[in-house]
Structures are given as C-alpha cells and as structure tokens.
C-alpha cells in the first residue's frame, strides 16, 4: 500500500485499492444513499466527488453527480455537507448490511 499514487501533490490517489481491503455486506439493489434527480448539482454535492473518503461520487457526462455506494464507509460526511441543499436521501443500511470493520 505504500506505493500508491503520488506523494504531496493534489493529483488523485486511487481509493479503490484501499477499499479492497475492507469487508462489506452489500444490500444489493437497496442503496442506502440516493441522490435526488437534478439538472445541475450544487457546489456542496459536487464537492463530494472529491471529499467522499470512499470515492462513491462521480460526475457523469451530463454534469450530474452520481453515486455508487457499495464501498461506502458510512461516515456521514455527504449527509452533513448536503444537509442544506437536500439533494441526498441518506439512511443507514439495513441492520447487518454495509461496511463491517475488522479493526475500526
């Protein structure tokens, strides 16, 4: 894990290789975070494409923000950041689903 990406710069470091170490119980077809349909994302939602520690958010070719939450570590940052805009529907995964920390 020491060889990933660049050191002090701002270019992206791959988060997928980190998440690969984690254990998940994915609730297939029932994502616990949903983005409300939008034309243009708010600055806050757009920021999540960089800020999400699990890299769940990305921008599609129409400039809208999409989320794939299978690798979510359930920190809640996106919920806090978009609380004012109301663009996310955020719930905990159903009991027993989601990330399972081995060490925490």
């Amino acid at each position: 894990m020491m060889n990933i990406g660049e050191a002090g710069g701002t270019a992206p470091v791959k988060v997928e290789e980190r998440l690969f170490q984690n254990r998940y119980m994915v609730d297939a077809g029932r994502p616990h975070i949903r983005i409300r349909p939008h034309e243009t994302p708010s600055k806050a939602l757009l920021a999540m494409t960089r800020l999400c520690p699990a890299g769940c958010y990305s921008v599609n070719d129409r400039g809208q923000v999409e989320a794939v939450v299978d690798g979510c570590v359930e920190c809640g940052t996106c919920r806090v950041v978009t609380a004012q805009t109301g663009e996310l529907e955020w719930n905990y995964p159903r009991g027993g689903f989601g990330v399972l920390f081995k060490f925490g």
Partner: protein
C-alpha cells in the same frame, strides 16, 4: 418485536452505549440494547486510545481480560512542515506502572469485549437492528423505538441515545440540530501490520510499551486538523482528520492527504514494509461546548459523540463517552429507586452530575478553542514552517555566527506574521485556552 417492556432501551453498542447498558443491567434494570452492526464494533471507528480511568470506574478489573494493545509510555507531539518535524516528546518509565493510564486498542475487538460484559451483566443485545425512529405518547414523551426488524417496536421508561456522531434517530426526532460542516471533522485511518519486533525496534519499545504521535502542520495543507500514529502490538494505526468545511473548500481528497502524511520523510520509515489491512473513515464532533445539544428530555438522554462529548484539544472522546454513559445510567437507576418519573425535570440531574466531573469542566474550559483554531490557520501552516525554519537555522553549523542566526530567526517570524500579528495570536490563544 419484543412484547415485554424494558426499564431502558440503549441505542448503540459503542463506548457510551455499553457503559450505560452495563451500569443499568448491573444494578438490576431490564435493559434492551440495539446495535445496527453485525456485531458490536463493526460500525465503530477510533484512533484508538483507551483511557483507563473512565473504564475503571465501570469495570475496575478490566485489565484481566480486555483486549488491550500497548500501554502508552511515550507521547510525541510534532509540528511538521513538508520535510521536517519539530517534536516535543515525553517518555517516562513511570508509565510502566501496575495499572497503566492509557492503552492503545483496536475498537472492533474492544467493543466486542465490552459488549460481552454488558450481556454478562444481564442486558439483552440485538445486533443487525437499526433503530429508525423514536416513539412518543400523546404528551410527546419518548416511550420506545421503532426498528427496521420488520418495523418492530420496543418500549421502555427511558431511551438512552448512544448512537454516535452521525446519530440519525435523535436528529430526526428533533432532539438536536443537524451537524454543521464547520463543527465536525472527517478523519481517515489505515491499519498497517508489521511484526511485533519491528515495531518495538522502530519505536524503542519493549514488551507491551507503546508510543503515540500526534502531529499538526503542513500535513493538513492549511486546513484545521491533525494527524496521528499509534503503535498497537502488531500494527500501526495511522490517520489524519480535518474540519469538513475546510475540506469542502480545499482541493485535497482525504485519502490523498493521508497518503502524503504516510510518505512524509518523518513518517515513511516508521511504516516501511507494512501491510495495510483496512481503510476507514469517521466523523468526529469537534464543535465543543458551544455545539452541545440539549442532553435530556421526557423519556430520553443523549450520551457520547451524539452529544458532542469530545475534547478536541486533548484528543479525548471515548473516555467522555464512557463517563457520560455511566452517569446517565446512574441517574436513571437513582431516579427509579426513588420511584421518580424519568421526566425532563428529573433528568436534569444527569447534567448536574456531569457538571461536577471533568467532562463538563473540560468542555467549558475549551469552549472558545474550536472557533479559535478554525479562524487562525497560521497555527497549521505558517507557524510550523517558521518553527522548522528556526530550528534548522539554529542547528545547522555553517560558519554564520550565533547572533546573526538569532536575528535571522527573529526576522523570519516578523516577515511571516509581523510583530502585531505574533502578539495578537499569542494573546488570542492564551485567552481561548484559559
């Protein structure tokens, strides 16, 4: 879901919930504890340091079987710039005592152990059960919870909310406001495994001795935040966290920041050859006293991170969580013995008791610090650089006389922050600290 009525329902099986459930169950109350994870600890994240005092007041002989990693004999405080660190280290053989004061722990293991004690004490624990809402009677009193187990409900005289920083139940019930991006930090952490002997050689340790490093400086790229590195028996916990609103305005990713911290020349040799086995992220409530919500009401009490019980300056949280959990439980037991109602008025006793402990005293002492640090970024960027530059000027022997070196150092500080700025920062820091 469960037909019988309980004395108390505890939401969450972290340090605060476990402390509360254990204390009540041990006193003979009928306790139901609900945890959304597969097992207690599976959703929980911490650095992690265990402060013995808080746990001793709940389980005095915890050292006999708790999964402890290393007792801390050395604390390193580092201010870092891009290629250096200026350190203040305190190491003492006094910390090699019969009942050590601080331990590193691995939360998923520790929480499981603590939960075992809770069940031994007689509490009923249901895992894989997410509480979805609080149930109230017509007068607005909290009387129970609804869960996602087929929408099942459970009823009790009191609901203790130990649901963590990101606690949705209390928030959606309007018991406390939504977290604000400028009063909450996002921390990411990795677990790096190394042979025990390697850790002991690198950190100058023997047996179960441990070192903790807390770091600030350019590692957070101008954001309000800190990094940490803790030694466990056969692993190193390394992480970094910054205030969320700073993250939103920066161009950095949390994992990019962590990667840069790991690759810092002061840190990289400590991790060399390690294998990362987990990557986690969590929020830390860092708003302090001024961000604390209402702590109790008719039929409910909030404990731990959900109540913003974190002393960000001293990196303390789990001890505040256990202490608030214990005191909430003791208050409930006391009221029940007196056959008093668990009403808002009577539960004010919880806060009165907290006021007499270090919990509220420390929260109040540092009430101005979160705001101060958020608006004085010099402490995370400029000053670490100046400090490092000064140290280098002072230690480098290069034919320049010492009086000239002193002048250079003084001038570097004046050029960086002007005399009025320096004095002003010192004054503001002192005033916030008081």
């Amino acid at each position: 879901m469960i037909e019988e009525r309980f004395d108390a329902i505890v939401v969450g099986a972290g340090p605060s919930g476990n402390a509360a459930a254990y204390t009540m169950a041990k006193e003979g109350l009928k306790v139901l504890q609900l945890e959304r994870g597969e097992y207690p600890g599976s959703k929980n994240v911490q650095g992690a340091i265990l402060y013995a005092d808080a746990l001793e007041k709940i389980i005095p002989d915890f050292r006999e079987d708790a999964p402890l990693e290393r007792h801390v004999i050395e604390q390193r405080l580092w201010t870092m710039d891009n290629g250096s660190h200026v350190g203040m280290h305190y190491r003492s053989d006094d910390f090699n005592e019969e009942r050590p004061n601080r331990y590193t722990i691995i939360r998923a293991q520790f929480d499981r152990w603590f939960s075992g004690k809770v069940r031994e004490a007689g509490a009923v624990l249901l895992c894989e059960t997410t509480v979805t809402e609080l149930l109230r009677d017509t007068a607005g009193r909290v009387i129970g919870v609804r869960t996602d187990r087929g929408g099942g409900t459970a009823f009790a005289d009191i609901v203790i909310l130990g649901e963590g920083v990101n606690g949705l139940v209390g928030q959606r019930a309007g018991l406390r406001p939504e977290l604000k991006p400028d009063t909450v930090a996002l921390a990411v952490k990795e677990m790096h495994f190394l042979p025990r002997e390697t850790i002991e050689a690198r950190f100058n340790l023997k047996g179960n001795e441990g070192v903790v490093i807390e770091a600030m400086g350019t590692i957070t790229d101008g954001m309000t935040g800190t990094g940490f590195l803790y030694t466990n028996q056969e692993s190193i916990s390394i992480g970094i966290g910054c205030i969320v609103s700073d993250f939103t305005e920066s161009n950095r990713t949390p994992y990019g920041l962590l990667e840069a911290f790991k690759r810092h020349p002061s840190v990289q040799p400590l991790l060399e050859g390690s294998e990362c086995k987990e990557y986690v992220a969590h929020l830390i409530p860092e708003g302090g006293y001024n961000a604390m919500p209402q702590l109790y009401g008719d039929g409910w009490i909030v404990v731990g991170d959900a109540g913003q019980f974190v002393n960000a300056v001293h990196r303390e949280g789990s001890n505040l969580a256990m202490t608030t959990g214990r005191i909430a439980a003791e208050t409930v037991v006391w009221l029940k013995r007196r056959r008093e109602e668990l009403s808002k008025g009577n539960l004010a006793e919880y806060q009165r008791r907290l006021e007499e402990t270090f919990v509220m005293k420390d929260m109040k002492k540092y009430r101005k610090i979160p705001d101060f640090l958020h608006h004085n970024k010099h402490f995370f960027n400029l000053y670490p650089k100046l400090l490092s530059g000064a140290a280098q000027t002072w230690f480098r022997v290069d034919g320049v006389d010492k009086r000239t070196k002193e002048k250079q150092i003084f001038q570097s500080f004046r050029a960086g922050r002007k005399l009025t700025g320096l004095i002003g920062d010192a004054f503001k820091l002192a005033r916030s600290w008081r």
